[in-house]
Symmetry: D3
Subunit: 252 residues, 6 copies
Amino acid sequence: MMVRVILQNLTWQEVDALSREIVVVIPTGAVEQHGTHLPLVTDSLIAGRIAEEAEKRHSKDVLLTPCLWLGASAHHLGYSGTLSADFPTYQGAIKSVIESLVPHGFRKFVVVNGHGGNIDPIGVALRELKHTREELLLCNFCYFLQIQEQLAAILDGPDKGMHHADEAEASLVLHLSPQLVKKDKLRDDGLKPPVAGMVHNFKELSEEGSIGYASLATAEKGIRIFEAAVSALETTILALASGYRLTAYPAK
Amino acid sequence: MMVRVILQNLTWQEVDALSREIVVVIPTGAVEQHGTHLPLVTDSLIAGRIAEEAEKRHSKDVLLTPCLWLGASAHHLGYSGTLSADFPTYQGAIKSVIESLVPHGFRKFVVVNGHGGNIDPIGVALRELKHTREELLLCNFCYFLQIQEQLAAILDGPDKGMHHADEAEASLVLHLSPQLVKKDKLRDDGLKPPVAGMVHNFKELSEEGSIGYASLATAEKGIRIFEAAVSALETTILALASGYRLTAYPAK
Amino acid sequence: MMVRVILQNLTWQEVDALSREIVVVIPTGAVEQHGTHLPLVTDSLIAGRIAEEAEKRHSKDVLLTPCLWLGASAHHLGYSGTLSADFPTYQGAIKSVIESLVPHGFRKFVVVNGHGGNIDPIGVALRELKHTREELLLCNFCYFLQIQEQLAAILDGPDKGMHHADEAEASLVLHLSPQLVKKDKLRDDGLKPPVAGMVHNFKELSEEGSIGYASLATAEKGIRIFEAAVSALETTILALASGYRLTAYPAK
Amino acid sequence: MMVRVILQNLTWQEVDALSREIVVVIPTGAVEQHGTHLPLVTDSLIAGRIAEEAEKRHSKDVLLTPCLWLGASAHHLGYSGTLSADFPTYQGAIKSVIESLVPHGFRKFVVVNGHGGNIDPIGVALRELKHTREELLLCNFCYFLQIQEQLAAILDGPDKGMHHADEAEASLVLHLSPQLVKKDKLRDDGLKPPVAGMVHNFKELSEEGSIGYASLATAEKGIRIFEAAVSALETTILALASGYRLTAYPAK
Amino acid sequence: MMVRVILQNLTWQEVDALSREIVVVIPTGAVEQHGTHLPLVTDSLIAGRIAEEAEKRHSKDVLLTPCLWLGASAHHLGYSGTLSADFPTYQGAIKSVIESLVPHGFRKFVVVNGHGGNIDPIGVALRELKHTREELLLCNFCYFLQIQEQLAAILDGPDKGMHHADEAEASLVLHLSPQLVKKDKLRDDGLKPPVAGMVHNFKELSEEGSIGYASLATAEKGIRIFEAAVSALETTILALASGYRLTAYPAK
Amino acid sequence: MMVRVILQNLTWQEVDALSREIVVVIPTGAVEQHGTHLPLVTDSLIAGRIAEEAEKRHSKDVLLTPCLWLGASAHHLGYSGTLSADFPTYQGAIKSVIESLVPHGFRKFVVVNGHGGNIDPIGVALRELKHTREELLLCNFCYFLQIQEQLAAILDGPDKGMHHADEAEASLVLHLSPQLVKKDKLRDDGLKPPVAGMVHNFKELSEEGSIGYASLATAEKGIRIFEAAVSALETTILALASGYRLTAYPAK
């Protein structure tokens, strides 16, 4: 009896036997610097674990692919060890995974993303797919954009959004893989642009590679953020798995 | 005496005489369907006029290029008359304008965008530029993302964000070019996805091509939204023109 | 009652109501240096105004798009203010406009071009389209190639062809937008290659950016050249609008 | 004290502290059908484990990246669940990983490949890199091409080479991840082209997706093949880590 | 003693010993249908032989490459046997030959072209090269554009220009390779578009594949056309080999 | 009566009259340095002559195209006179030739290759074609990989494989075009990497540009190698021309 639906562990016959209403969940992140305290794998670890947990809870409705860990991280290349795909390569990877599975009959896809720098290119990739394959259901699921209110409620620092290697991200890694956190190096750091919309290389924002209030991170906050993110993903999966329905705007 | 700094009207010698601290302002929008009530040019009209007004108020600090009106609008191609560049072409246009001017010594650029579908590809384009030309100051200025709070205060409909051909956009066109509005066709319309992050072709969201509460649009709201947008752009221009400075996060 | 057929000002429903025998007219030019006397917009101004005038005279047969003003002008990048698209971007823009409209049912397209440097890439772009869409009627209409005999009759200088910022071009701008001409800077200038077919960057041909006998330019010549160009475009539009017919070569 | 040198688990400061004589080992495979008996992950599992084992034995000389599991597998797309990158994307991923690390000072790279279909595009990618970065040491290490003699000695079936999901590959998975093998489905299968050099989609060669004599597979053979492959990789790593030296051909 | 300078027959040391003032001559044509009477190789045969003859007469000043016979011939693909490169490939080939030789110190290049369909993409390719390598001398030498006056004087048919498989081209093949001409099939044929600038696939212009008055072709005319073309190429080569000089326009 | 089937010499009507079971043979090589003793054309000469000889022996079954002489030779660009296509261009040329002929009804293609550096990109190109055109029979026929046993038997030097400008290649040119061999410069040369799979620029392996034991080359060996290669090609052609059949693996 097959209980988990982790694509890489299946044979092609097992995949072939799955329902085509199943939701393909594609985690993606980055291998890029995360300050002095967090490992390079941070974004992929978080996205991968969120996706895995959702699959575990809803195996009947989820086909989980491996994590596309090579993200669009050029703005972090100023720090040793950061790996970055150029945009056409990153977009090509997202599209290739989906385009591989469409001829097999799958048509519902959620890209579970853990890296801010991937949002734009995932958007471009999914829109290119949607343009020619109208029948697909495609979701650009960036976990921290899905839980902004919860994040604001959980965080203690003066900045309530998600930032690179900050209170929120450090809390998540403290929860998911505490042995990879340099606890003695958790630090508050970073500069802000004076106006919105500016495009920066990260070295301009922080010599050490982090922003925000990582010193406030705790595993307990990590648990709460993780649970919020998994929960948002569960909602998304269930919406797609069963009769995805658009609704009218409320009457004025 | 030259009072306006509109690139297309200048000779190369006049451009050559400008200060290299000047901020190049590049309006961009779309020529795409905007429901039954607004003209195809809507997004380009709005972005172009915001940019023009800012140039008029700060000619000393602004070099205004023509509007890149051919946007990334594939999701609107289901409606006659929509023109859309594929993503590499749209990104290539953004990059080409900037890459042309960099060897002439300019290094500060604000892309003033009026079309939601352009946000992702402008992001990709500017990040590609920043990766190899660290010295540039680049801003992905999408007017309605810059004035979300003001928008919420101005709009009367139950939905406070900016949507396609809605109360906010119709108000702007009523202000900027009222003769192009089919006033008898202003309508409330549109469907919402059940979860965030979904990628849709617009025909899935509205047969007629609009979303939100256009019937509530007025020229007077248009004036207020326009002024808010111009004001945000002025702030951005001034921040870049004079000693752009990053600041530390507040103490916790 | 709609009298003008300017795509950007229409709603999608108005475009949808048009005859599919209509000829889509796409003006294109450049924003590039034009010597010390003419504005950067020269080529786009001329192409745009020729196209507009033809539309005004034949609104029933013409659907006019906005001007693709960003041309292939790399050979002029040696002068400040020149904007140039790389070739794939420029070709992509031409193709995108046409490929957007073909699914809407339009199939007759005339690219009205005012910039010599665009001739080759328009040729490549239109041939790529024609290769896969045989049913299209596509015309690479470069206004000065269409009126070579008339030009030779109108010009007074020893050189009878069209050159960059010369007698002919300066006359056109004196007619179309005299306030943009630096009349005190009209100059004769430029060097010739010793053999035909050479590819030059413009700085090799003229330090100031012009070739030929601009000092002979007059608005009156501009009127005559403009009229010749509009007239050639009218002929082309009418040939496409109504039963485009190929004819046999004359008997020998 | 850091004992293992697994890039994803390090901080950027830890990577920055490494010797630049270290050999970057990049495992790559595929997620593609492997007959009725082996999991989709087969090639990535094998390449990843070979690389990991070598890293474990020579941590001082190896920096191990995550496995590029999305291979060039278009010829297996006829079977459900196969994921394939197009060639530019796959080559882009290989190049991106290396191009990310070169500016950090690393210059020795071994791509440890477990999938036959990746050999050509890795070759192209590495040659493109070598063309512009002559100082790099680059190795296209396909494990089964490195141990052809040992394979022939270990295998019992009439065919001594490595084939898809055959005796050799099934033996390796029986050793590395026996719970992923459908032991009751191990089968002998496959067709051969009449001449060498033919390019086939896999469905032409086997309806079930395997070739060769998988029924002869044993975990014990898997151990021997694995050890031979790790040993070849160790030799390669040591050759690059310490004074890579070319030698003359023997006297005739 | 080396008397001929045919690149393919030399060793690298012989190439290395050449003067860098030498003019690299690159013939290019097509392998495409040429009506019922001429062979597919027509354009490459003519361009190749013109280039060869010029090399023979000026070996000291010419380095002759092999003929790039795969042209941009998509508009002839409606006829069996036509081979066509897509535009990026054709342009890539032109650029690759030149970019290979520039680092070896050569900087003067003449592309001797025999196919009308190659003119645009050669133009694009050479301009892309010139943009980044200003020091190069590059000539887009299309033989029949260089000898328009002579052609008009030589031809007897009512049409004086060069057309596909016509009086001029058939005369050239009758001179250069008479055994490849189907003399009994020489025919007058073809249709004309009603206006200039139209882009056609050739099947629209002629079912049989030729245009003009091939029945008037003679080897004697072929000799005269060939001599005119070689002579134009000699002039070009000599202008480039020795102190290429630009000259002022004549006084008005 | 047509006895030879050399595509370039035929008219389109003659190609159209051919059987679609015919095998299209596409020779390809390089124009790249071959040491001090062999001409740049070596690889193209050999591949072209092998293909020609096979066509001569089996004209009924072969349609021979011209030789794609511009190969993927970037690793030889360190020597004057080497011409190299970038990979997309080279792959584009291979694909363009085949894609031109497929709509004409041909579906059997053998690429006869004489240059080691082309193997990978031909592999990529043919696999891209096969992915979308399953019905094609495609062979990546590299002559020296097809005759490894015969080569080992013929060669006298201690190294039995094929190397650049070595005993085998020099013997072939001594047979096929002896006047192009600098007999006084035949030399033994070259260095070996310490491990397999390394990617080198050729200058790292040999200052003079050759590897192996060219001093042992004789025209007589050249005859034998040539005959072995032609014979292998004949076998391939016949297998494709007449009912290409896959066979089962032998029983164990």
